[in-house]
């Protein structure tokens, strides 16, 4: 399937460039700063160097759904968890750092 066929129908509520901040409401993407992968987990304190190297430097580059941090710098200055499709920019869910968000099946 080519990328065009995978692109969902245009839906103003779901395009990127607008992110639902749990505190501030729907805001323009320009108010946010991308802060990277929200799925990396810090290894235990006694983990070896390779474990920390992976934690600090190594990231997947997924095509499709990705759970990531967006920092609402121009608003409440909180971190927002966002499930975004890296291919279509569709945002499936947003929440606070404590929330567990459902990731759609591809």
């Amino acid at each position: 399937m080519n990328a065009c066929a995978m692109r969902p129908a245009f839906n103003r509520d779901k395009i990127m460039h607008q992110i639902q901040c749990p505190w501030c409401g729907v805001r323009d993407e320009a108010e946010f700063q991308y802060k990277g992968d929200a799925t990396v987990v810090r290894p235990a304190d006694d983990a070896d160097e390779a474990g920390f190297f992976r934690y600090v430097y190594l990231r997947d580059n997924p095509k499709g759904w990705h759970t990531e941090w967006w920092h609402h710098v121009a608003g409440c200055r909180q971190f927002v968890k966002v499930v975004r499709n890296t291919l279509t920019h569709e945002v499936a869910a947003t929440g606070t750092p404590a929330d567990t968000l459902q990731v759609p099946e591809s």
Binding site: W23, C24, G25, R27, D28, A30, E31, C76, Q78
Partner: protein, 195 residues
């Protein structure tokens, strides 16, 4: 050592009165006190109750003594009268007790005001929020950005009056943007001294 005279961020600005009834009135509101009130861990509700302010996002609490604008969970921008003598912050600190603490910001914030029905049109040129009165009631508060300047916006009344609180260092630049955006209408620019 002599004290440095107190200056205002808009000292270099010339204020003008329109020839006709203005559509827009822009004001530099001086003599306000500002402090940022933050709850200690887990004490946001207790602090809000003690201060008589709402924990709801996007909604101001206005009392005789102060206006509280929610910034994020457990954080408010408190605005009162009195200027930069620190007294307002001391009062708020006293009221907050051990539920929170206040940091003095009177030197660091400037309150600019826009009034008139066409304020919606002027703000729409820079503010990325839908301020349509159908969606945005009196008391609405938002932190956002306009003309590349971060601001706290407060809808004070239905005239409408919007208070725009910006960092003092950006106030003059932001003021020029406001005047520029208002210029297609008849505009008065004024100083309101509440000190």
């Amino acid at each position: 050592m002599a004290n440095t005279p107190i200056r205002n961020p808009l000292d270099a600005v010339t204020f003008t009165t329109a020839e006709y009834q203005p559509d827009i009135v822009l004001s530099d509101v001086r003599g306000k006190s500002f402090c940022q009130l933050m709850a200690r861990r887990g004490k946001a509700d207790e602090l809000a109750q003690r201060m008589g302010i709402s924990t709801a996002p996007g909604q101001s609490t206005v009392t005789e003594a102060y206006t509280a604008l929610p910034l994020s969970p457990g954080q408010w921008l408190m605005i009162g009268d009195g200027g930069r003598d620190g007294e307002f912050t001391q009062t708020i600190t006293g009221q907050a007790g051990d539920a929170g603490y206040a940091s003095e910001q009177s030197h660091a914030r400037t309150l600019l005001r826009i009034q008139g029905l066409l304020a919606y049109d002027v703000l729409a040129k820079g503010v990325r929020l839908d301020l349509d009165p159908l969606h945005v009631p009196v008391g609405f508060v938002a932190q956002t950005v306009a003309a590349q300047v971060g601001l706290t916006l407060h809808k004070v009344d239905d005239q409408p009056t919007f208070d725009l609180i910006v960092y003092a260092g950006f106030a003059e630049s932001f003021w020029h943007w406001l005047v520029d955006a208002s210029e297609e209408y008849t505009v008065d620019t004024t100083v309101i001294d509440q000190g």
